[in-house]
């Protein structure tokens, strides 16, 4: 009976966090099939190590991110996530919320060209910078939480984020130059 209760609680926990884990994994491993594997492995690992979470050492989400990052690293990063245009997002039937689109338009003045260049620039980040970048700007973890999730010093988080953003700028500037000269 007790196990049944735990399982039900775990199921509810799974439904609460699966999207977060899946999307984070997808951005990190760059492949939907691999992200599915990571999703399973993360929750199996969470179940197995459920007794080891210590609230005093950090937030639950950070712990979950740590497990996700570890599983992604184990999975290897085989390929980059595909860059798709906003139109393609809709074309593949995923109903990108209108608010998302207008938000993108308003905040970024994001033309298709700009978005695609940004996505391509993000794709160009290598394995060292990418997880830190995703945990900060997609998962919205603080530097301290990223350091815990990745098991790296705080200073390394700062320097990797600096490098990541500056790499994006370089790529974007180069793309802009290409566009101007064409």
């Amino acid at each position: 009976m007790a196990i049944g209760r735990y399982r039900r609680a775990f199921e509810s926990f799974f439904h609460q966090y699966q999207e977060m884990v899946f999307k984070t994994a997808y951005l990190m491993v760059g492949d939907e099939e691999d992200a599915k594997d990571v999703l399973q492995e993360v929750f199996i690992a969470v179940w197995k190590s459920r007794g080891t979470f210590e609230p005093a050492k950090g937030k639950f989400a950070t712990w979950l991110h740590r497990i996700t990052v570890n599983q992604c690293l184990m999975k290897h990063r085989k390929k980059q996530p595909s860059c798709i245009s906003l139109e393609e997002v809709r074309d593949c039937g995923l109903d990108l919320p209108e608010t998302m689109d207008s938000q993108v338009a308003a905040e970024l003045s994001a033309s298709k060209w700009e978005y695609e260049n940004l996505a391509a620039a993000i794709d160009s980040l290598d394995g060292k910078y990418r997880p830190v970048f995703i945990l900060r700007y997609f998962s919205e973890l603080s530097y301290d939480e990223i350091a815990q999730a990745m098991g790296i010093p705080l200073g390394t988080v700062k320097s990797r984020l600096n490098t990541a953003i500056k790499t994006l700028r370089k790529v974007l500037v180069n793309e802009e130059r290409k566009e101007v000269t064409q």
Partner: protein
């Protein structure tokens, strides 16, 4: 503080990750330095844009519906396919399989188009294959046998479904072979979905003689666009330049026809046929014996033969 020192702090400043003192120093510098203010604006724009781009990229990733069932089964200590459990029941089939649609969702790995092409080609020429005989008693045959005899795989195959084709392909990882089963949709779905099919892809570890993974792909039957004469001629030309095809031709075979292999490459809703099959046949002198047949799978865009497969 110099501009270059301040520059190192601009991203943590934007992320609100600076201590009070550092923040003051940065703000003081910014109040007097136009160049650093411009740099701050640029970095802020990139940061905002990157956030939005990540959201859009992640919007594509939707967790599969059957994930919890799979995890539940694993927690219960049962063997699991990676994607879905298929027991033949329609309801179970419909939830947890991937739809290869428009090539935008979950493209199959690079080896798959060729394999699928072979499967479709086999259907197109009206053959029901078990194991291509040219494989001989190789590890590929062993892989196919292991997959076919695995009780778990047998359980996945819907009752009454006809397994039209099995095909072992070369391992993508050492020791791991893929064996594919194609199940016609009409044995699973009624009505419109009857033109779809399920392909069950089993990963077999031939060393350990066991099935190590199973996944199901729902594939849509593609309309076959007739090939133009130019395409046929090009396919023949490419095939004839291939040493393996040349060897088959030298043994007395003739090129009988060129057939389209409909792949999952819709462009603007219509199919682009990039890969075609060149069918070669050697007529037997013994009227009782079956003719020997091969299909050379030709990629018209790449200008090469992808694979040559013999059929009984």
């Amino acid at each position: 503080m110099k501009c270059e020192d301040v520059n190192e702090l601009l991203i943590p400043y934007l992320d609100d990750e600076l201590g009070k003192e550092e923040k003051k120093v940065v703000e003081l510098h910014l109040s007097t330095c136009l160049r650093c203010r411009e740099e701050l604006e640029t970095l802020a724009a990139i940061r905002t844009g990157a956030r939005q781009a990540l959201k859009v990229m992640a919007a594509k990733a939707i967790p599969p519906e059957q994930s919890w069932k799979v995890i539940e089964q694993r927690l219960a200590g049962k063997r699991q396919p990676k994607i879905a459990l298929l027991s033949g029941a329609k309801s179970k089939l419909e939830g947890g399989i991937n739809m290869i649609k428009g090539g935008l969702v979950s493209r199959p790995p690079a080896w798959k188009p060729a394999v699928i092409g072979v499967l479709v080609a086999a259907l197109a020429v009206g053959l029901a294959l078990v194991i291509p005989p040219h494989l001989g008693q190789s590890q590929e045959v062993l892989a196919a046998e292991i997959a076919q005899n695995d009780p778990w795989v047998r359980e996945l195959l819907p009752e009454g479904a006809v397994i039209r084709v099995t095909k072992a392909v070369r391992p993508v990882e050492e020791g791991i072979f893929h064996v594919l089963f194609l199940i016609p949709g009409e044995s699973i779905w009624d009505g419109e979905d009857g033109n779809k099919a399920i392909m069950i892809d089993t990963s077999v570890n031939v060393r350990e003689k066991k099935v190590v993974g199973v996944r199901a792909l729902k594939i849509e039957a593609a309309h076959i666009t007739p090939l133009t004469e130019v395409e046929k001629e090009k396919a023949v030309e490419i095939a004839e330049a291939n040493p393996e095809v040349q060897e088959i031709l030298a043994s007395g075979a003739e090129i009988r026809r060129v057939i389209p292999l409909p792949f999952f490459q819709p462009v603007d809703g219509s199919l682009t046929i990039n890969v075609v099959g060149v069918v070669l046949t050697v007529a037997s002198s013994d009227s009782q014996a079956k003719a020997e047949r091969w299909i050379a799978v030709v990629d018209l865009v790449e200008g090469k033969v992808v694979e040559v497969v013999q059929y009984p």
